[in-house]
Each structure stands twice: as structure tokens, then as C-alpha cells.
């Protein structure tokens, strides 16, 4: 089982299994938990929900007399058709519609943050290892570790308070100003960027340390290999050794942890969004928790999980393309 295709298929199989696990968890959790959230919902919405919606929800939460297996298959069928039920907070909008409004914002915010943090952190880490014992190597890791010890959302709170309210440098709520409407206009793009600087900035700051440390420690090892030593002996210019010999080899472990970091950063992004009132998945998650909107909550879990799985698969494919050793 060597070569690119079999490995790719095996990874695909793994993600299919993980997707199935997420789907099944989503089905099992409400049924295993003590208490009956569905009953509470029914009690609250008895008057306002029409009987058909109530029935649909009963099936979704397993409060029906049909055997569990048929419920499970019905659930899988509904989910495959994009049928996730009706949101209670945003009643009567279907969950898919509610989630759809926030998905792009989260992907944008988390995507920009994780890529910027990865590039900047890895570059700093490479530099710290290259100038080992230099000022960046001595100050960088502990300083960023200290910043990274703060919860993402707490850094966000401080940023909102200090840079937003006190100094008034940045807007502190929503993803774009009230004076522009979404579209491909320059005014909207400018407003969007202004609104993204603080949330993305705090997330980059909080996650920079991890990248710096991973890259630095791998680089230290790579710089010590015979290949790099030989490059020095051949008299290659230092910048060529740095970029073509050391960084290229040291990137791979960082890339591997990139896949894993997506989940972490996304979790951090969800909480950061809440602080900024950024209209993404995190904000919806908060609404769902506050309003005990279980259908929305589960829909969010499902979409976020699937997004993370897809992103991880992307990183896997990239790693396979870049590192022949992984094609085993």
C-alpha cells in the first residue's frame, strides 16, 4: 500500500469515518443525556410552533414511538438533504438558513487569522533558530508564551476596551459598518477590513507563540543535519541555505500541526466573535446557548465539524504533495 493514490484513498476513508462519527454523535447526544430538552422546548413553543414543525422536531429529538434504528436512518436522510430543523431563536427560519448567514464570516475570520499566524509565526521561529541565542530567540518564545496563556476572548475583551472604546481606533461591533451594504464595493471592503483587524489581530497574537516554538525547535534540529552543514561547506550564501535547505525541511512538522490547529483556532474564533459581536458561527452559538435553541446548536456543531474535517483533509493533501515520505 504505497504510492499517492492508496494513501489518499485511505485518508479519504478516515475522514468519511470521522464525518460519520460527528453525525452519529449529533444523533446520540440528545438521546443519551438526562432530562428531556425536547419536552422543555415543546412546553415553551406549544403555542407558537405549528403542529407540523413540532412533529418534525419530535422526530429530530427522538421523542417518537418509531424504533431507534428507523429514527437514525431518517435522521441521516434528513441531514443528507440539508434538513436540520427549525431554529427557535430565529423562528421560523430553518437552521440551515441561519447557519448559512454566519458561515462565510467565520471562515473568513478564522481563515485569515490562522494563515497569517502560521506564516508570521513560522517566519519568526525560523529566524529565532537561525540566529540562535539572539534577541528574538531569547525574548520571543517566553513573551509569546505569556500572551498565548491569555484566553483568546480575554485578549479580545482588552482590545475592545482599550483600542475600541478608549482610543476609538477601531470599530468594535459587527463585521461591517451600518453605512455600507455587502457587495463588491470599495467602501464595503474597507469597512470589512477595518472591522476584521481587531478580532483577527487578537487571534494572531494569541496563536503566534505556538507556531514560533514549533518552527524554532524543528529548525534547530534541521540546521544541525549534515545536509545543511554540507551546504555551508560548499560556500552557499546564507540566505539560500536558510530558505532552500533549512526552512523547506522544517516546514513539514509545522504543516502537520496546521491541520490540528484549525480546530483550536476555530474554537478560539468562536469565542472571539462573541466579544466583537461578529456575525459568524460563534455569535450564533451564543444565541443558541442563551435561547436553548437545541436544533441550531446541533446544526452548528455539525457544520463546524464538517468544515474542520474538510480543512484537515485539505492540509493532508497538501502534506502528501509536499512530502514524499508521507506517501506510505
Amino acid at each position: 500500500m504505497t504510492g499517492l493514490l492508496p494513501t489518499l484513498l485511505r485518508r479519504l476513508g478516515f475522514y468519511a469515518l470521522a464525518t460519520w462519527a460527528a453525525l452519529t454523535l449529533n444523533f446520540v447526544v440528545p438521546r443519551l443525556m438526562p432530562g428531556d430538552p425536547a419536552q422543555a422546548i415543546f412546553a415553551r413553543f406549544q403555542g407558537s410552533l405549528d403542529p407540523a414543525a413540532l412533529d418534525a422536531m419530535r422526530t429530530a429529538f427522538g421523542v417518537s414511538d418509531t424504533p431507534i434504528w428507523s429514527q437514525y436512518f431518517q435522521y441521516l436522510l434528513h441531514t443528507a438533504q440539508g434538513e436540520l430543523g427549525t431554529s427557535l431563536v430565529y423562528f421560523p427560519a430553518p437552521v440551515t438558513e441561519v447557519i448559512g448567514t454566519g458561515l462565510l464570516w467565520t471562515v473568513f475570520l478564522a481563515g485569515v487569522s490562522v494563515v497569517v499566524a502560521f506564516l508570521v509565526g513560522s517566519a519568526l521561529g525560523a529566524w529565532a533558530a537561525w540566529r540562535r541565542g539572539g534577541w528574538l530567540d531569547r525574548i520571543g518564545p517566553p513573551l509569546l508564551a505569556l500572551i498565548g496563556a491569555f484566553p483568546y476572548f480575554w485578549l479580545a475583551m482588552v482590545a475592545v476596551w482599550a483600542l475600541g472604546f478608549q482610543l476609538g481606533w477601531f470599530p468594535v461591533r459587527h463585521a461591517y459598518g451600518v453605512d455600507v451594504s455587502p457587495g463588491w464595493s470599495l467602501a464595503f471592503l474597507v469597512s470589512m477590513t477595518q472591522h476584521a483587524v481587531l478580532p483577527a489581530g487578537t487571534m494572531v497574537l494569541a496563536s503566534l507563540g505556538g507556531w514560533l516554538l514549533t518552527m524554532r525547535n524543528t529548525m534547530v534540529g534541521v540546521l544541525d543535519t549534515d545536509a545543511v552543514r554540507y551546504a555551508h561547506i560548499r560556500g552557499l550564501p546564507p540566505h539560500r541555505i536558510l530558505w532552500h535547505y533549512a526552512v523547506r525541511n522544517a516546514m513539514l512538522p509545522s504543516l502537520t500541526s496546521f491541520g490540528m490547529a484549525i480546530g483550536f483556532v476555530l474554537s478560539g474564533a468562536l469565542l472571539t466573535e462573541i466579544v466583537f459581536g461578529y456575525p459568524g458561527q460563534g455569535y450564533l452559538l451564543l444565541q443558541a446557548v442563551r435561547g436553548q435553541d437545541y436544533p441550531l446548536l446541533q446544526g452548528l456543531f455539525l457544520t463546524i465539524s464538517l468544515a474542520v474535517l474538510a480543512a484537515n483533509f485539505g492540509v493532508d493533501v497538501l502534506t502528501l504533495a509536499l512530502d514524499p515520505r508521507t506517501r506510505r
Partner: protein, 291 residues
């Protein structure tokens, strides 16, 4: 080992700071005022009477931060230990038996690792009755896999050593070989794992409580931040309601990170200054991130 750790400046700083936090958590609550009592005008800034000011409910911020240390650190350390214990058993069994058992358990570990933590925690916490027991359960269920993976790869390599074969030939049961023979040989790795898992448990717990999941009537670092936002601390500029708690969380996390760096430096020869042995040495313990 403890001596080497103490002589490492990073580890020592970490030990001192974390020890101080633990001391505050243990003794502090007896020394401060009632954290629930209404003591002064809501959102009054720090003064001699109330060193860190008051919350939006007119409670003493210092008292809340100190009492929060006890609840948050207590649960954090407990969950840290539990997570590593479960991770060691699952990862240990996978590494020890290898073959089909390993394949199955590794699959389970990898699937749990790839699913994003926070959304799953939120769903679980939303369905469970609020309280420390539920919180611990949620954190353990979503956190065990990381350590299982680290332990598995280490056990996999220790499994091939002669002393393990000797123990098996002597007729010891697999669980005994794992717990008595193999795991003690990776004490520093497990120590690092407990430190990492505690950091994770504190961060995740604070994040969940900030979302409003958890027992909102209890006083923890997470609920402190939840109430600070709810009482519009940001809008009114009442920095004293959220800065002390955040600083305490960061100080704890930083102390644990320093301790882990120190542990790595002491036990991992590749990172020791001036070491040069050729091939890329063993990788440092991966840094785990939590929201």
C-alpha cells in the same frame, strides 16, 4: 530529577508561580470578604476599601478572583489528572498490544482528535445539568485523546525493550506490565502531559463558562468574565472587573508553560544548549492549544 528541574531557571519560575497560585486557592478564600455579598456601589473603581473595585453586582472583585482560583484550579488539576490517566490507559493499551487493537484504538483517538473541541463541548454541556461534575465530564470526554496519542507512541517504542519482555515472560498481566513496568519509565512525559492537560482544562473550562455554560451561580474565573461582559464592563470601561481574572488565568497558564519548557529542557537532550549530534533529535513535547 526534581533537583534538575529546580536548577532549571524556567522550571523554577514556573514552580514558584504555580505554587503561589495554588496557595492562594487553598488559603485565600479564608482571608477575603464574602464574594457574593453586595459591598459597595456597583462598578466602583479600585480603592483602599476594595483593592480591585467592585463588579456590576456590587461584589468585591478581589474576593471573587481569589475564590475563583479555588474552583477553577481545583477542577483544572483534577481534570488534568483524569485526562492523563484515561489517555495513558487507552494509549498504553494501543501501544502495548499493537496490531488490530492498536489500529482500532488509534482510529478512535484520531477521530476524537480531528473533531473540533469547543463545539462538541458546547453541545455536551448544553444538554447536561450545570455543575462541576458535568463540567469535568465534558472536559474529560473531549480532552483524553491528545494524551492517548502521545502515550501510545512512547509505549510503542518502550514495548520493544528487554525489560518488558522479561516482565511478560515472568508472567505478569498486560495491565500490570503497562502500569508497573512501562508507565514509570515515561514519568517525565506523563508529568508534562498532566501540565498540558491542566492548562487545557483551565482554558476550556473558562471558555465554556464565558459562554454561559456551567453553573452561573458558582464563582469561578469563567463566570467572573461572563458576568463582566453581561454587566457591560467593556462599554463602561470598568477594566477592573475583567483584568484581574484574565491576569490570573494567564499567570497560571504561563507558569505551567514555563514548567513544561523547563521539563523539556531537562529531559530532552536535543534542546539542551550546545547539543549537536547530527540527525534531527527527538521533537519537543507538542504544544497544545486551547480556546
Amino acid at each position: 530529577m526534581m533537583r534538575a528541574l529546580w536548577e532549571n531557571p524556567q522550571a523554577r519560575a514556573g514552580l514558584v508561580v504555580f505554587g503561589a497560585m495554588l496557595a492562594v486557592a487553598l488559603v485565600g478564600p479564608f482571608l477575603v470578604a464574602d464574594p457574593d455579598a453586595f459591598v459597595a456601589r456597583p462598578l466602583s473603581p479600585p480603592s483602599m476599601d476594595h483593592l480591585l473595585g467592585t463588579t456590576g453586582q456590587g461584589q468585591d472583585v478581589l474576593a471573587q478572583t481569589v475564590v475563583g482560583a479555588r474552583t477553577t484550579l481545583g477542577l483544572g488539576v483534577l481534570v488534568g489528572l483524569l485526562v492523563v490517566a484515561i489517555g495513558s490507559v487507552v494509549g498504553g493499551l494501543a501501544g502495548y498490544f499493537g496490531g488490530k487493537v492498536d489500529e482500532l484504538l488509534s482510529l478512535l483517538i484520531n477521530v476524537s482528535l480531528v473533531l473540533p473541541g469547543l463545539p462538541l463541548m458546547v453541545v455536551l454541556a448544553a444538554y447536561l445539568p450545570a455543575g462541576p461534575g458535568s463540567m469535568a465530564a465534558v472536559l474529560v470526554v473531549t480532552g483524553w485523546a491528545w494524551n492517548a496519542r502521545v502515550v501510545r507512541s512512547q509505549v510503542l517504542s518502550l514495548r520493544k525493550r528487554d525489560f518488558v519482555d522479561a516482565a511478560i515472560v515472568a508472567g505478569e498481566s498486560p495491565l500490570r506490565v503497562l502500569v508497573v513496568e512501562i508507565l514509570p519509565n515515561m514519568a517525565s512525559l506523563l508529568g508534562g502531559a498532566v501540565i498540558g492537560a491542566t492548562t487545557y482544562a483551565i482554558g476550556a473550562q473558562v471558555g465554556l463558562e464565558f459562554l454561559g455554560l456551567g453553573d452561573l451561580s458558582a464563582i469561578t474565573w469563567g463566570t467572573n468574565l461572563y458576568w463582566a461582559t453581561n454587566d457591560s464592563a467593556l462599554l463602561t470601561g470598568s477594566w477592573w472587573t475583567f483584568v484581574p481574572t484574565g491576569a490570573a488565568i494567564a499567570l497560571t497558564g504561563f507558569a505551567l508553560a514555563l514548567l513544561n519548557f523547563g521539563l523539556d529542557g531537562v529531559t530532552n537532550p536535543a534542546l539542551a544548549a550546545g547539543a549537536g549530534t547530527g540527525a534531527p533529535g527527538p521533537q519537543p513535547t507538542p504544544v497544545r492549544r486551547s480556546p
